[in-house]
Amino acid sequence: MVEAAQNGDRAALDSLLRRHYDRVYGICRRMAGNDADAADACQEALITLTKRLDKFDGRAAFTTWLYRVTTNACLDELRRRGRRPTPGLPESPEIDIDDTPAFDTAVSERLAIDDALAQLPPEFRAPVILRDQLGLDYAEIAATLEVPPGTVRSRIARGRARLADLMAGNHDDPSRRPSTESP
């Protein structure tokens, strides 16, 4: 499908985008921290993907290349906006009226993780998302981010540790927003 898309098969390109859309958006959502910025970042990532598809030479797995393009597009988009990701309420929460407490908890935890992720510098945020959300191994993350595997391991560890601290503080008192101090 990738080769067909590279050769000008528009239907193949369309299928390729649809196949990977959810994962691209997922990365952007975690990287951006809110739905609005995630949508913009996802759009930029998909456009970058289609514009640079002819540069993919098949030496790495397509998904590795896809995640790299997506991650960089997200970072570029956030950098262009000149600000860190801003956590926000989901725009279309799936509210179960018979289970409001669970929804409250879910939203609270979601805000907490969004907020906590927002506190991480991008170089820590990206490997944590690639590892925990996409399940990539260290080698794949290293290829995606173009850093040594040892660096990946270190950054994931530091990122998780920081998230744990932030989440723990948030869980002590759900009404209390996490600290905004830099790590």
Binding site: G8, L13, G26, I113, A157
Partner: protein, 315 residues
Amino acid sequence: MSDIDPTLDDLVSAYIDGDASDVEAARVESDPALRARAEQLRFIGRHVAAPVTLPDDETRERHIAAALAASPIAANVTALAARRQRSARTMQIAAVAAVVAIVLLAVPLVLITRDGTDDNGGDTTASASFDADEELSDDSGDALDEGGADDTALDAAAQDPGDEDAVAQSAPAAEAEAPAEEAAPEEESAADSTDEPEAGADAEGDFAADDSAPQLESNTIVLVPPPTSVQQLATRILGRLVAPADGTSPTLELVPCADVVTAFLDDLAAELLGFTVQDIDGSMFLAIGFRAETDIDVAIFDVGTCTIVPAVPGG
């Protein structure tokens, strides 16, 4: 902040990812504090891995559409299509493509004749019969030899005598075609017409602005009775009758590339079930022949070079 040494966080993080060595794993498993820290990091991992709420379908489609539009691949396809269209326009294929359409009809012959009594002046009207059976069973043979309108299977055709591109224009005007289910009645009418014994003089009158004659509409599929002599039919239809102003007998002139088109049709038309003609932009026509439901022939006719370019439907 955690009381765990950052280097131990690195160890624990690698442990929960399955990336720790045996020695490292043993160390974590033997230390309650490290095991507790591992649980904390797993908890974090579960939150990060929690599914995100995906955007609605409208947003999704907008994103994909924008990406497709931005693709240089799409741009290349558009550019190629534009080049092809420009090229096609320069091919001047309208005349022969339309003539082929008439050949595939297996009946109609479009005549170009001057009608001095035509009150409609410059009006151009082309029509054709669908009397394939009558035409194909006619032993009178090649119209080139016959040289007369009485051998033709047409109902009527009135053309502006001043139009030098009469063939090119008249064929598109004949552009194929009443719906298939309407063809039969028209065939009956055509049969009546061709049965007229004094077709020469009377036909000339019939050709003049016969507005009641069946008009062919573009983009309509017409079922075609299998022709028995494509060569004969094509030769006749690829010619045009020109009626001199002095009232002498009309003469038949072949259109350019007639021999090429005729040869091509010899291979095609014996199995022909139907055809349609697509009027692309008023100057370019695409003939599509059906040999079976899934067996379609598409051809573009280039008058300028007298070549036939079979094309792949949808390609």
